[in-house]
Homo-oligomer: 320 residues x 4
């Protein structure tokens, strides 16, 4: 293998730059060349690609976002789009491709591999953490710490009685961020899409807490479970407590990546290059039980990882 491409695709996540750096430097270390593809599959189709050197990835390990930019590509879902990308594979002499992103990105990579045979390896990068084949995807740890930092700040305030804070975190389909940040932040209740919840129970718990002298209560809501504003409104109606709502939104995607995410990204990026060198293709790398492993791309695609409900229950016990 002489020359490979690398791209970031889908929603960005903190640590993607560290993964790009690892792919580029590991490949160069082994004497290969790397072509950076801009704006995900869009740049692949349009030939927005350029050689990357050691210096191209200097001083990016600590930057949020992705220097290659990212996009969701409708065009790559069409045969015409992929055909144009294949022309660029040819034109730039690519013999392999590393795709950093989430499930949708892996689907595109898998399809392209099946149609054109280009060796591809996926690296899971999404703050949602719901990709199969890895215990952690790049960016999750940073996003959780961002949410926990918000909870910390709210914890400082609100020493008035009978006040409830709602923090809406990301997670359209899944409660990974909500569970982790709620457990780490000591939230009184956590609402996730995977579990039904009863506003009556939540309000009962709030009332019991305040009777016992709690100065404030914090409820973490995954956006996929409910609207934070709506929850706040309903709690106020039922209990009369003052409710204050914070919606974190996209700030969870940014920030300098944590050490955990950078180390994860470095390890996965390096392994992705090794897989391509070893001719092991159509794989996704991941961290399972502390070890870097590979999974078949087609097994990972479309399979959502499940949240650990033990952590959800632990959070509830510790918030009594």
């Amino acid at each position: 293998m002489q020359r490979i491409g690398v791209l970031t695709s889908g929603g960005d996540s903190p640590g993607m730059n560290a993964a790009i750096r690892a792919v580029v430097r590991k490949a160069i270390y082994h004497g290969m060349e790397v072509i950076g593809i801009k704006r995900g599959f869009n740049g692949f189709i349009e030939g927005d690609m350029e050689p990357m050197h050691l210096g191209s990835v200097a001083d990016i390990v600590h930057r949020g976002g992705t220097i290659l930019h990212t996009a969701r590509s409708e065009a790559f879902k069409t045969p015409e789009g992929r055909a144009r990308a294949w022309e660029n594979v040819d034109r730039f002499g690519l013999q392999g491709l590393v795709v950093i992103g989430g499930d949708g990105s892996f689907q595109g990579a898998g399809l392209f591999h099946r149609e054109y045979g280009l060796p591809v390896v996926g690296i899971p990068g999404t703050i949602d953490n719901d990709i199969a084949g890895t215990d952690f995807s790049i960016g999750f740890d940073t996003a959780v710490n961002t949410a926990v930092d918000a909870i910390n700040r709210i914890r400082d305030t609100a020493t008035s009685h009978e006040r409830t804070f709602i923090v809406e975190v990301m997670g359209r389909d899944t409660g990974f961020i909500a569970i982790a940040s709620g457990l780490a932040g000591g939230a009184e209740s956590i609402l996730i899409p995977e579990q039904p919840f009863s506003l009556d129970d939540i309000c009962d718990k709030l009332c019991r807490g305040y009777r016992r002298g709690k100065l404030h209560s914090i409820i973490v809501v995954a956006e996929g479970a409910a609207s934070g504003l709506e929850i706040g409104k309903q709690i106020k109606e039922r209990t009369g407590f003052d409710t204050k709502v914070t919606i974190l939104g996209h700030l969870q995607r940014g920030g300098t990546p944590t050490a955990f995410d950078r180390i994860l990204a470095s390890r996965l990026g390096a392994r992705a290059v090794e897989l391509l060198m070893a001719g092991r293709t159509s794989k996704v790398v991941g961290l399972v039980a502390g070890e870097v492993v590979e999974s078949d791309l087609h097994r990972v695609i479309g399979e959502k990882k499940k949240v650990d409900l033990n952590l959800y229950r632990l959070a509830s016990i510790l918030a009594i």
Copy 2:
């Protein structure tokens, strides 16, 4: 003067603990005793008060919130409430009172002074920064940095084209936080209650920016100017751009106070004690043009400080 009381009242703000520490230590340094009053005027009425020592304020200079807790007191607005507070003045032997809080707290302190003659000094503590008699109130600098940190994180993400981020910050009546965080964060537009705005103009500016290649736009909205969610919805309708909304809410009240807020709090707290010692009462301390000054309490009450529209215009020029 042998013994003074200190309380925090109204909405809390980061740096209030540093002010309490300064009042307690400065008073003890001069041989006086300090009684800490809990939960604002409520604790004053109920006699929830206790002596503070050097160690009572150890290791609090860096903590958000207030160790004395705070509350808004309806009872203190009644003659009966103030009469009960006066009994506690007598019971605890207070000869002076330091009130850390905002306009409402100063009103209560002023009324109490007029009725009972207890010497009082106010220290401006509110993130809103709209108290007259001081260029900066305690907590404002921290709140602005919190908002700017959120904007930083959003800046990392969203490299997709034609995406607009809305950040709703605090400021029910005033744009101090919005202007400072928008200017410091490099926001494209800033919406404040003090200035009319046109959504057409904002959308035009967004479109021009994207045509010129801007990868993202950030709009800071003071809660008193508009609802962040509503602005997001309307921009999407008019431009078709994807809009993402963050509502910071009460997390702006928390966090470890900045060096600026701690130094401000330390200086104002120490001066408040000096004023009481010098028999100068019914005053508010403040920082004006870099110097600690005193103002008459009755002049500060009810007078809202105006935002500096030059900064607002500068933000607009620098965001072209």
Copy 3:
């Protein structure tokens, strides 16, 4: 089991409070009582102990340090000291003990268990991460992020040519923090006690980097490998490059714990209580391959966990 004690011992680490909270709340959840023992084994000997309630551990999950304080106890190494502690076991009716700390603390706990039979469970809390029986000890992730934050800041500066930054991190006997922070921070070289190093090689690498246009180089030094100041002096002598030294020291022990450390502490604390309830004693809980596990206390004591030299080599490859 009706009543257990909990103490923190040895050097403190961020996340110990989250572990205390988990022990207290989990035990109360199961109908048990918890006695908090102050200042490690010293408080155990002196009977500086008091009941803990749900509220005792409110709002501490995000605080660095330990609310129970910690100390190294010479007295507990003597038979007389342990005899006095046993009297307090009797006096307070303790039926089990949770010890949060490092190797020395576990030795004390193990000895006490052998002599007096009190059921004990250890929870590994130390930033050094060298305790056997767990992949991560509480506080390590926070300490690494603190070191990485320092490296980030240094990375911003020093765009002058031919300047080398040395960052001395903790690790008297081991390079865990140095390797993790060096890898995550993108350091050019990492010096650890476990590996010999050659200043000539380091200087050669620096010179090659500068010839290639590197604007700065960062060297992370574990305190056990060398003195940062000495390394700085010698590099300057050999290369003529300007060298600047940062010694992080004890600030690595503080700071608000990361989400990872809090979740780890919560899980380990809860499991420790479960072990005591199940009559499984003389154990250490830990996280191995992502799962909470138990190990025999006597196997963990005195056995230092080894650093992962693969990460060390990976850091070197990615810093070419």
Copy 4:
């Protein structure tokens, strides 16, 4: 005025990028062109200069360091060096120059103005804060917050008795950072170059504190007053207390700039352009008593601003 140059020179400081952004955008807003000069006066001499556009300064307002890089230039101190720079003024058609830096940079700018008549305006950027003509120089507020953050972390730890922490901060000739961070951080003692100190007094104070039950003491040392390591060694010898030393070094120059520094930089940058447009040259802009003002360059050069010893004394009173 049609075209101006901008450069950063001397030691870098956080917020310089915000100043560059303000200069570039303000100038373009008024229809002027801006040439960015790289690596301070070195790039000026070598013609390492290029046009800056609106997009050149996008997404830099939050970055530490300076995108134009900086250097100390020996060559610009020679008539030959300045003559070569003058050729570049001619070649690039510069009609004015903005120099962001400290005293040494202003000297160079002043000399060049006298010799060749090019209109110049200086913007004070240095973490040391000792430049005359301004209450605050760009980067000082960020550096102080960095030092305070370090003190915060140390405050969390060390609950063992009789332990003393020494934090060495920057300030070769001046105690600005030491006083501000020591006051804000609640340090027990502050050592600055401007004031003699007695180790006997410091040790007495430490001993009194520990007898009164203080769990730890923190001493902030400006590098120009003493070596932190030496102070630690001597205190240990005299008192027997365990001393732990942190040397912050260059990490104080980095980090994302605070809101204060960005707003300061934005205001000063915009005013610098206005002065050039108004034909007011050989000036330094600054913030005095909250207002942006101008001073004559030759009055600022060589005049060190004095620290405010009232703050130094206040810190001492509040640390009793």
